[in-house]
């Protein structure tokens, strides 16, 4: 496909010029509003910021050492929040994966009701995130709706419905679920189910077919979907803000708090660490997705 196009391109005009014209607008936008600001932020993380919020370009690692300045070093607010964020993002990813895989499988295998299910999945996804989190805020808590219902049913109040880590995981999983579902569906839908039938005919158990055939075939989608859930959850701000009950602090809240208190250099250093960790996650994920995804859907 690309070969015929580049041959044609050479005949019609300079393909290089056309390619540049096609890519320059989006490339420019990405540079101006993603790469330049993030690079500037990294630069600021190595600079000093005066009390009057003036940036003094004098290279220093002080902003970073301050993030881990305690004994033991993991007891600083930054490292604590970072580790907690990783844990919560991982839990959110597992919840989404477990919830979404059977649904994606059912959607890929059956035509009946597929449109309705997609409609019902996409609509919550399109509902204002802030209000959804507010809704979970009303549902959770000691006096929240879930505990009211549990009390009416005679089993409450239940500790698990209080604010804190479980509530944050639920709120984040609710927000990121469609990314996981759509990514998994695309993978399972593309699987040749004759291969699974053949494995069954040859005596493999359902469990073995899932473990040895279906899961490996859809692994790139599992990894990609997990990335789409993990990374935004890792840096989340709104969900923990409303659902933590002020019991825990995630790294997104910590960074926002430092900006609000004009501690720009420290916020930049903390955000840079987050960006580096995300880049590392992408690097690890690329090892599992590139081979079979190859950019072809």
């Amino acid at each position: 496909m690309g070969d015929t196009d580049s041959v044609l391109g050479r005949l019609v005009g300079s393909p290089r010029a056309r390619l540049a014209a096609l890519l320059a607008p989006s490339g420019g936008l990405l540079v101006a509003l993603l790469f330049a600001p993030l690079s500037f932020m990294v630069a600021v993380s190595f600079a000093r910021v005066s009390d009057a919020s003036r940036i003094i370009w004098h290279p220093t690692a002080a902003n970073y050492t301050a993030l881990v300045d305690a004994t033991p070093f993991w007891s600083t607010p930054f490292v604590t929040s970072l580790l907690l964020s990783v844990g919560i993002a991982a839990a959110t990813t597992v919840v989404c994966l477990v919830a979404a895989y059977p649904v994606a499988y059912a959607l890929a295998r059956r035509d009946r009701g597929r449109r309705v299910v997609f409609f019902l999945v996409l609509l919550p996804f399109f509902t204002m995130y802030l209000v959804r989190v507010y809704s979970w805020y009303l549902l959770f808590g000691d006096g929240g709706v879930l505990n009211d219902i549990a009390t009416v049913l005679g089993v409450g109040p239940v500790d698990a419905f209080g604010f804190g880590v479980p509530a944050i995981v639920v709120g984040l999983a609710h927000a990121q679920f469609p990314y996981m579902l759509l990514t998994l569906y695309a993978g399972i839908e593309a699987v040749d189910f004759d291969v699974l039938e053949a494995a069954r005919d040859l005596g493999a158990s359902r469990r073995a077919v899932f473990r040895d055939v279906l899961l490996p075939l859809t692994l790139p989608n599992v990894v990609a979907g997990s990335l789409f859930v993990f990374v935004p959850a890792f840096g989340s701000f709104v969900a923990p803000r409303f659902l933590s009950g002020s019991t825990v602090l995630l790294v997104g809240q910590l960074i926002a708090g430092r900006i609000d208190s004009f501690n720009i250099a420290s916020a930049s250093a903390a955000a840079t660490v987050v960006v580096v960790l995300i880049a590392a996650a992408f690097g690890v994920a690329a090892r599992y997705t590139d081979a079979s995804a190859g950019g072809d859907h």
Partner: protein
Amino acid sequence: MASPSTRSRLLGHALSAWTVAVLAVLWLPLVVIIVLSVAENAATILPFTGVTLAHYQATLQDGALLGSVANSATIATLASVLATAVGVPASVALVRYDVPLSNAFRVAVVLPMVVPGVVLGIGVLISIRTLPGITPGFVPTVLTHAVYGLPFVVLLVSARLAAVDDTLADAARDLGASPLVAFRDVTLPAIAPAVASGFLFAWVRSFEEFVRAYFVSGTTDVLTTEMYALLAYGTAPKLNVIATLVLFVLAVVLAVAMTAGDVVSAVTAGE
């Protein structure tokens, strides 16, 4: 031991039950929002004291709040138009041409979807604070949201492009159509549903986006930052009303989109 057909029927029922349960959890907060929008006591569901339209009346009389809705709709429209205008050519380049470093570009285009809003928000904020002549406000919010919407446009459109046969466009060019005309008359109609889906996704993501707007919108009143301020004071009955109204509008738009074009296959790249 049950027979194989019984077991596969059981498995089918289990899958259905799981799907219904997941959908129920997805819809739980939406039901709460819709119920509270008409509840006399908007603070909580139980005890439910009665139905009222008072919150709707109060919301529709709140000029400042409606102004921020209009602002957010304007920002979302400009941002998604921009995202679509730059995203469609990028998709064409990525799918139809041999782009050097195309995988790197693909990753770069997806990044705005996953870079945490807090990180991007403060990055843009401290950058524009340093640049002379630019202040946080309307334009930075539009541009920041355009970048946020870009991945949705590129992912949906390039998936569709990859599935569309491009020999027709080749034929049109062989017969003398310029690349631009061939694109407009042959390729664009074929990918139109995906372009529309991408635009819709980008629009919604911008309209409901909070963290980036919180940092870069400055004194421009944006719906989500207004909502955030209201929530900080506790219950906010008007938020349930706005969310419910937006939900119904989007339900209609989505239903029309899913009937007219194949949103599902556009979204999932399934053919």
